[in-house]
């Protein structure tokens, strides 16, 4: 009897969660679709965003993300390789760096935004700019990248490392030809995960990349990211709800596409990985 009750409760909770999610997504769809049109996607906002479109904002978003990836990926990959291949995982240095990265991963985004404001915009003098925003986002992406890349590399079985060592191959050569290709699916999935997180970011950007909703002329121009646009429309612009929902729909779609891509790539690579030549 108690058994039936318990199982029923589990089903109910799962159902409740599903309903809530459907409610949320449904609302976004219902309220967002009317706002979407070709003009919406290709024009600049007017009347503080109540009318017009989000084109410059999309451009800014892509630019900020690009800066973030260009900084975070090399840094993160090198760190991950060093942690996975050149240090003992339970040695003192490896442990401390691991802890530092874990803490960094948990730091609230607003605090990272504060840091970005004080350091990139202030100390380094970048002001409100896409560059500053991108660098701040890179700080947020770094722990995720390092963690996923490192676990991807350590998951590669030792037998290939031993075989390569027995053949007298240099570590760099083994990494390039065997280990990194084998870990590529995990690394790519991690990158896409980090990009998804960065795309959703708002708090870290309001004080670093700024609020300006014009088309940015260069990386040192201020630019507004999509998530920041949604925030502004819903909180500061009366009557901006319609445009906000439209932007929200675009943002959610973007993130869904990124996650889908990550999953597909993982599957595709898992099947193909055997034939890397």
């Amino acid at each position: 009897m108690a058994d039936r009750f318990f199982l029923l409760t589990l089903w109910l909770i799962a159902g409740l969660v599903t309903l809530t999610f459907a409610w949320l997504l449904g609302d976004i769809l219902i309220k967002g679709v009317p706002a979407i049109s070709w003009e919406f996607l290709s024009q600049a906002p007017s009347r503080a965003g109540r009318q017009g479109g989000i084109w410059p904002i999309l451009v800014s978003t892509v630019l900020i993300l690009s800066v973030a990836i260009c900084v975070a990926l090399p840094l993160g990959l090198c760190s991950a390789i060093w942690l996975a291949e050149f240090t003992r995982r339970d040695g003192p240095l490896g442990r401390r760096i691991g802890l530092a990265l874990d803490i960094l991963a948990g730091v609230p985004s607003i605090v990272i935004g504060l840091f970005g404001y004080a350091f990139f915009s202030g100390f380094l003098g970048l002001g409100f700019s896409i560059l500053s925003g991108g660098l701040t986002l890179a700080c947020m992406m770094l722990p995720i990248l390092v963690r996923t890349a490192e676990s991807g590399l350590t998951a590669v079985p030792d037998e290939w490392r031993h075989a390569a060592a027995a053949l007298g191959m240099r570590r760099g050569s083994v990494l390039w030809h065997v280990l990194l290709p084998a870990a590529a699916p995990a690394i790519t999935a991690g990158l896409l995960l980090a990009v998804g997180r960065a795309t959703a970011e708002t708090a870290a950007l309001i004080f670093t990349s700024g609020y300006v909703d014009r088309m940015p002329e260069s990386l040192s121009d201020s630019g507004r990211a999509l998530a920041v646009h949604i925030y502004d429309l819903s909180m500061n612009v009366t009557g901006g709800d319609q445009a906000a929902y439209g932007s929200a729909l675009v943002l959610v779609t973007l993130i869904i596409v990124i996650n889908l891509l990550a999953n597909l790539l993982s599957l595709y690579w898992a099947k193909r990985k055997v034939t890397l030549a």
Binding site: R88, E159, W160, R161, H162, A163, A164, A165, A166, L167, G168, M169, R170, S173, H177, V178, P181, A182, K273, V274, T275, L276, A277
Partner: protein
């Protein structure tokens, strides 16, 4: 202690070596590797102590004994693979043509190109067959396409894989059967033209048919290469080895109990432990 030709001069043989019989199948014994007083410990725990023996050029030496008595560690030490294992410490001397390969300043990469290793579980890289064989060559600095192709064909013929894979060199190595993969690994080790081959139970992960093929291959390597093979299969040792070294665990670490020409060890063992192990009453 040894001159440049490697002939043993005046080193005390601390093991029981039977009368060396001249003639086939192996040569006049010329020491290729000389191991003296080798001790291996992991994280302070000794797994092998005080091992001394000579490995003769061109001959197949089998290391037999129950599991856990340090045979694989012994093998790993010979090409300095113990450097990769955490917490491993080695003491003693291993001389290859007079040079101590356990010395700290040694160029390990050069050493490993002279001493190749085959592992228990076949481990071809997750790449094509051709790539598996190319990588060691590229690492060595050999880049001319003609030379590479020539070596690949030679080595695949040597291991008897050429007819089976000549038409599909670009297909993934992991699609080969277990026995073929192991032969590919042997080919990969041979392509660098090493002098010595270390084999850690190369047939134990294979089915009987593939096992026989690989064993046959090992036999054919005799004379051209010096082979040291760890095996649990006593019958296999009898079939292919010229010399046999018997290891056992006493006083909590592995020790070399007896070393002899293979026939002598099996037919007239000097040590009672050896006799018991071979008869199957122990281990």
């Amino acid at each position: 202690m040894t001159d440049s030709t490697g002939l043993q001069k005046g080193i005390e043989s601390p093991y029981t070596l039977g009368q060396v019989e001249a003639g086939s199948p192996c040569c006049e014994p010329v020491a290729h590797l000389q191991i003296r007083d080798l001790t291996i410990a992991y994280h302070g725990l000794t797994v092998l102590s005080g091992v001394s023996l000579d490995v003769y050029r061109g001959c197949i030496t089998a290391l037999i004994g129950p599991s856990g008595c340090g045979k694989s560690s012994f093998l790993a030490c010979l090409n300095r693979l113990t450097d990769l294992l955490p917490g491993a410490h080695t003491r003693g001397e291993v001389r290859l043509d007079g040079q101590n390969i356990l010395a700290p300043g040694l160029d390990v990469k050069q050493l490993r190109q002279r001493i190749g290793m085959i592992f228990q579980k076949p481990n071809p890289f997750p790449l094509s067959i051709r790539r598996n064989l190319e990588l060691p060559l590229l690492e060595r600095g050999i880049r001319q396409r003609i030379e590479i192709n020539r070596r690949i064909e030679n080595v695949l013929r040597d291991v008897g894989l050429w007819d089976e894979v000549a038409t599909r060199l670009n297909s993934p190595a992991t699609r080969l059967s277990g026995g073929q993969q192991q032969r590919l690994c042997i080919a990969r080790a041979l392509i660098l033209e090493p002098e010595i081959l270390l084999m850690d139970e190369p047939c134990s992960a294979l089915d009987p048919l593939s096992s026989a093929v690989v064993e046959d291959l090992i036999l054919r390597l005799r004379g051209r290469y010096t082979v040291i093979i760890v095996t649990h299969n006593l019958a296999q040792a009898r079939r292919i080895a010229n010399y046999a070294a018997f290891f056992w665990v006493t006083e909590q670490s592995g020790k070399l109990i007896e070393f002899n020409r293979c026939q002598s060890l099996f037919e007239a063992p000097q040590n009672s432990l050896t006799e018991a192990y071979i008869a199957g009453t122990k281990g």
